[in-house]
């Protein structure tokens, strides 16, 4: 029996959760789902599993990872799950790691493939995706998170039964909970949500040098990103940083300007549907992950693109 923890937003499970579900189903045997918090019941109705457990509790309005872990343990125990799978998002990973500690089981984070068996053979991601590790998991219950956008979500089947319940939560489970929220400072497209992201790297040369980058981003309704070198130089805030230790994004189009393409940076943008590199060096590592390239200086190329966009706008 496999249990998949699904995150949901606006009444539907998230795409990465469905990817996790697909991987879980690959383990064979029946699969149940677990959804938690406000909106879970609506989202559970569409999930193609035998049973979708919905945990409802007034304390779950705000995210409380220990509560989630307690719920996972409760359900997993109840149904006798041999595997618990979750998407490799910040919150779900957090909750599953706590569950692993409670259950005294190992956790394999960011898996991309599994082969059923005992021990379970799995392939997981290292270095943010630049390296793969094949490993064997020796566990009573296999706890796995699934690396986002590495497993293709299978087309949905028909949903089964929905079983809402109220989990037993202690005060200790609710010590760690979101108490307050600080709203985003600036308006405008956020990096993870933008369809187009234009990133400037070391080649931009200075904080002011980002002018053409910002201009093009604004013309395309996109967001500005930067590499770690830029953040460390103090030219842009860390919130703009794309990379293994920054934001990992998956826009329609990622334009990397003056970025050499170190693996740590690629780890943040390889989810992009298409990558366009603008660089003076035709042999830069970014060229081997880019779909398109312009060989040239970004200070010339970007203004030219902006000018051409304006010129040909109908």
């Amino acid at each position: 029996m496999n249990l998949v923890v699904l995150e949901h937003v606006d009444g539907a499970p998230t795409e990465v959760s469905m990817q996790a579900l697909t991987l879980a189903q690959g383990l064979g045997g029946a699969t149940h789902a677990l959804l938690i918090g406000p909106g879970a019941r609506e989202a559970a109705a569409t999930v193609p599993v035998a049973v979708a457990h919905v945990a409802e509790h007034e304390a779950l309005d705000a995210f409380a990872p220990d509560a989630w872990a307690a719920i996972v343990c409760e359900v997993s125990d109840r149904i006798g799950a041999t595997a618990v799978v979750a998407p490799g998002t910040e919150h779900a990973t957090d909750a599953l790691a706590r569950a692993a500690a409670r259950l005294g089981e190992p956790l394999a984070a960011n898996c991309v493939a599994v082969t059923p068996g005992n021990p379970l053979a799995l392939t997981r991601v290292r270095w943010g995706g630049s390296l793969l590790e094949e490993a064997l998991l020796h566990a009573g219950q296999a706890l796995l998170t699934v690396a986002p956008h590495t497993v293709f979500a299978a087309s949905p089947g028909s949903p089964g039964a929905t079983e809402p319940f109220t989990p037993e939560l202690s005060d200790a489970d609710l010590v760690v909970t979101v108490r307050d929220r600080v709203a985003p400072a600036a308006a405008g497209v956020s990096l993870p949500d933008a369809k187009v992201v234009i990133t400037g790297g070391r080649g931009v040369g200075s904080a002011e040098g980002f002018g053409p980058v910002e201009e093009l981003a604004s013309l395309l309704g996109g967001a500005v990103g930067c590499s770690r070198a830029v953040t460390m130089a103090g030219w842009r805030p860390h919130t703009d940083q794309v990379g293994q230790t920054g934001s990992k994004i998956a826009p329609e189009l990622y334009i990397a300007c003056g970025v050499s393409g170190a693996t740590q940076h690629i780890a943040g943008c390889k989810g992009a549907k298409r990558i366009l590199a603008v660089n003076t060096d035709p042999e830069a590592p970014i060229m081997s992950v880019a779909d398109y390239a312009v060989i040239g200086d970004l200070h010339e190329v970007l203004p030219a693109i902006s000018a051409e966009l304006r010129r040909t706008a109908s």
């Binding site: 995210f63 990872p65 910040e90 790691a97 692993a100 500690a101 190992p106 956790l107 394999a108 984070a109 960011n110 021990p119 991601v125 290292r126 943010g128 995706g129 630049s130 390296l131 590790e133 094949e134 490993a135 064997l136 998991l137 020796h138 566990a139 010590v175 760690v176 979101v178 108490r179 307050d180 929220r181 600080v182 985003p184 956020s190 187009v196 013309l219 395309l220 953040t231 805030p237 860390h238 230790t245 920054g246 329609e252 189009l253 170190a262 693996t263 740590q264 366009l276 081997s288 992950v289 398109y292 390239a293 312009v294 060989i295 040239g296 190329v301 203004p303 030219a304 693109i305 000018a307």
Partner: protein
Amino acid sequence: MKILVCVKRVPLTGGRIVLTGDEQAIETKHLGFTISPHEECGVEEAVRLVEQHGGESVVLTLGPADAAEQLRDALAMGIDRALHLETDGEEWDPEATAGAILEAIQADEAASGPFDLICFGNESADSGGYQVGLRCAHALGRPCATGIKGVSVDGGVVRAEQERGGGRDIYELPLPAVVTVLEGLNLPRYPSVPGRMRAGRKPLDVSIPTRPPSRLQRSRLVVPEGQSKQAEVLGRGAEAAPAVVELLRRIGVAR
């Protein structure tokens, strides 16, 4: 305050990753090493908190003898003491790592009192297990907040900020607590040379933990394919602009 920060020695890999012949590790000849980025911010934060509140900071690593270099970097930044859990160089799985760290924490707390705050990196740059800090917190029975990019301590409570959806979620944990932090928490200081020299003279507290059998056992490492795309060159310099705009329209990102 008594603060512990845990760090890991990781290589600086650059543009491509090359494996050793036996596919068990990255070839690190000619590679430089560093404290994993998230953790370096943890070190900086620990130093700042002690500067602000007084007390003592300790750095700990589970790693090979060479990891002393990273401990000395942390000492140079202003950490007071260093604990080195020395291994033979092979990487331990997250459960085993957490277990060894837990033992060291308990030993140090028995000797000189509890840590008000323990700081881990959210995940290490190389293995990305996402769990060592949480396991330690659970074993110690202390509250833990993860993915933290802002920390402040006041009146026995740590206020931890986590980025989500452009804004920040705020957690408030009573001390003693554990946080796992992300790069962006602060900008780590460049250590002064007098700091480095003093760090070089400080003795490290070295112990050799026993390694339990691994339940997440590596078979081999594989460099993923698809790293050698042939990018379609749209043009050179400003002359490429029309081709780029045509692409933007075709994809549907330009109006």
